[in-house]
Amino acid sequence: MSAREVWAQGGDWSRAVEAAGEDRIIVNLGPQHPSTHGVLRIVIELDGETVIGCRPVVGYLHTGIEKNTEVRNWVQGCAFVTRMDYLSPFFNELAYSLSVEKLLGIEAPPRAQAIRVLLCELNRISSHVVYLATGGMELGALSAMLYGFRERETVLDIFEAITGLRMNHAFIRPGGVALDVPGDALGRIAEFVEDFPHRVDDYEDLLTDNPIWLERNRGIGVLGARDCAALGVTGPVLRAAGVPWDLRRAQPYCGYENYEFEVPVAETADCLGRYAVRIREMRESIRIVDQAARGLLPGPVMVEDPKIAWPSRLSLGPDGIGNSPDYIRTIMGESMEALIHHFKLVTEGFRVPAGEVYVPVESPRGELGFHVVSTGEARPWRVHVRDPSFVNLQALPAMAVGGLIADVIATVASLDPVMGGCDR
């Protein structure tokens, strides 16, 4: 038990203060603090206002989601993992579903793949605008915060039109997606695609042209490509260090190889570079959304295999979302076999062949990977998540030490960690 150790359950404070000595100040930033992205705690050792030590403490938002997936069937896992990184729920679902599909040896039909891309890229936008919003707020740009949340609201409305929920959708499932995209949602997406680039221009007017914003971000929290690699840092932080590493390009999934987009990079490796990368990623994402929405071919959105395809064919009735009357008629009155499949899937779920896979996707924060182990049962043996928030946060001391305390805030904001994903 060294004095450098800090724990989520506390009891570490007096040792930290003793170890600091007389002429140092220890600041306990968080877990309740206006700018720690939820419940991140950072123990900062200060000499004046200069940071000489910085220890991030995680675990305050531990939800046991990974463990819980082991006692639920494979499809129910979707509803769990979507709650981890709550700013990018579709990516959690996608990575989980892709890994289960890989174990099953199936592939979702093309329309489902396109819908997945569509939702994920919209989700990337909604996540990046929250980065702008919270990052702006943390540097005191309060208007940026409200503008960011306004745009997120638009995206969430589209999600609601498609999945019925604003967050935690459990919409992408092993074998495809839960429902087809309703007709009016495509119109809304087209409107959004039309409108959003102008909104990004507005952000740039508000922040990119703002000398104070540039001053607060330029040269702050520098982490070069070599250090990123050493610490496993991925996502916009890595791309801001000049490494064009994007899994959508490097290891395409869901047909990303068929979309035209660029991987933005910056050379500065600082907070401003990360900001620039994210701004440009939003512009690229909107291009992908446009292509996916236009190129949406008719077809099934779930694999045909009745032993895997989740049976609840939902319909949007006058009382909200519910089971489709046609489907109820089929299983209750017409097809004995359909009833058997329904019963098996709903009570036990499908079995997945024994094996283990690791499937990464490019989430807004970096490489989000699912390491899933099956022993051939109807539930996973182990689901381990490599969450980018968790991995990227360990680079915080490397970025923050030597800077000022105000720069710690800017640096955390530039990492854009989501503690729900970090602590799982």
Binding site: G140, L206, D209, V265, A276, I409
Partner: protein
């Protein structure tokens, strides 16, 4: 002074006090509504017409809150600090002339609490006292964040006070008097019949420095470092609650109003303005109020637009830009005043002020555009690498 003189004086004190209290209430409400409008929100609209009583309700709530004194504070100082903050904020308004004189019978009444012959120095002195409130609050709280706030504010407010003082010196040189009424009188008249002799025009650099320093002095965004919410949580008043917290809040907004009022007096001609032939005594206070409202709006506008400056940059800006700039300007003004007998003073000062102002604007625009070009160049299409394949 006779009895009637005393009555008039007490009445004026009460009027000023009531005005300031109401002004704070309205300013807080107006700020929240304005910022809400700029941020596509609605803002407080429930309590009273248009929500105008919201601040009153908040204030009453704070009155009834428990006044917590945490363990480990330096009790006497901790309890006194809010008063030290709020009293000077009230006092500095005493020297502001908010209107011309009018007659009651044979008695001439000035619309000003005290026309001190060193009026503007009194304002600077009160501004310095304000620092004590912040420093003592942060120090006595015995906690890390307030201490940071206190250290920052002592450095920040003292250095910006120098810049502010120098900008005031330039005005005093140009006006030839320290009395605020005298400074307003020095701004009487117009050029070409419509451009008023405001020091905001002939002393443009001093005006800009004064406004920037004023924002920094009153701890308002983008210079709100002593309370930097996202770094220091609430800074120096972190441990305060209830009515003592309210006093800090009151002091901040009083400072905004007072600074705007002083800036109006020094640079915008005070209560001077076109006076229609009816209701003559009413117009000067109205003109004064209108100018103050415009300046308060600038404070609110800055808050809605700008991110917070970092502490060391703020100090660098104060010492390396504002203070040298105002020193140079004081020298220039002094030279012009000395040349006064030779050339018409007003013309010279005005010409130089405009030239310097235009130069400053040109420089600002150039720097901004250069920065813009620098970062905009790094937008999609350029220097974008294709990864992977």
């Amino acid at each position: 002074m006779d009895a009637i003189g005393w009555i008039i004086l007490v009445a004026k004190v009460l009027i000023v006090f009531a005005f300031l209290m109401v002004a704070v209430i309205v300013t807080v409400w107006a700020e929240r509504r304005t910022v809400a409008f700029m941020q596509q929100r609605i803002g407080p609209n429930r309590v009273g017409p248009f929500g105008i009583l919201q601040t009153l309700a908040d204030g009453l709530k704070l009155f009834f809150k428990e006044d917590v004194v945490p363990a480990g504070v330096d009790r006497a100082v901790y309890l006194a600090a809010p008063l030290v903050a709020v009293i000077p904020a009230f006092m500095s308004f005493a020297i502001v002339p908010w209107g011309n004189t009018f007659r009651i019978g044979r008695r001439v009444v000035e619309m000003q609490l005290a026309d001190l012959n060193v009026g503007i120095l009194f304002f600077l002195a009160m501004g310095s006292l304000m620092v004590y409130g912040v420093v003592l609050a942060g120090w006595s709280s015995g906690s890390t964040y307030p201490l940071f706030g206190a250290v920052r504010s002592s450095a920040q407010m003292i250095s910006y006070e120098i810049a502010m003082g120098l900008s005031v010196v330039a005005v005093v040189l140009a006006a030839g008097t320290l009395s605020t009424r005298g400074i307003v009188d020095a701004q009487a008249g117009t050029w070409f019949g419509f451009v008023p002799h405001w020091f905001a025009i002939s002393q443009l650099p001093a005006f800009v420095v004064f406004l920037l320093a004023g924002i920094a002095e009153s701890n308002r965004p983008p210079f709100d470092l002593p309370e930097a919410e996202t770094e220091l949580v609430a800074g120096y008043h972190l441990e305060y609650s209830g009515v003592r917290f309210m006093m800090f809040f009151l002091a901040e907004y009083l400072h905004v109003i007072t600074t705007s009022a002083i800036a109006t007096t020094l640079f915008l001609g005070g209560w001077r303005g076109p006076i229609p032939p009816f209701a003559r005594p009413v117009w000067p206070p109205l003109w004064f109020l209108a100018k103050v409202v415009v300046l308060v709006f600038v404070f609110v506008w800055a808050r809605a637009t700008l991110p917070r400056v970092r502490y060391d940059r703020l100090m660098a800006f104060g010492w390396k830009v504002l203070i040298p700039a105002s020193l140079v300007w004081v020298m220039a003004t002094a030279t012009l005043v000395a040349l006064g007998p030779v050339v018409s003073r007003a013309t010279l000062v005005a010409g130089t002020g405009l030239a310097a102002g235009a130069l400053a604007l040109w420089w600002l625009a150039r720097v901004t555009l250069a920065r813009r070009a620098g970062i905009r160049a790094a937008r999609p299409g350029e220097e974008v690498a294709r990864g992977g394949r």
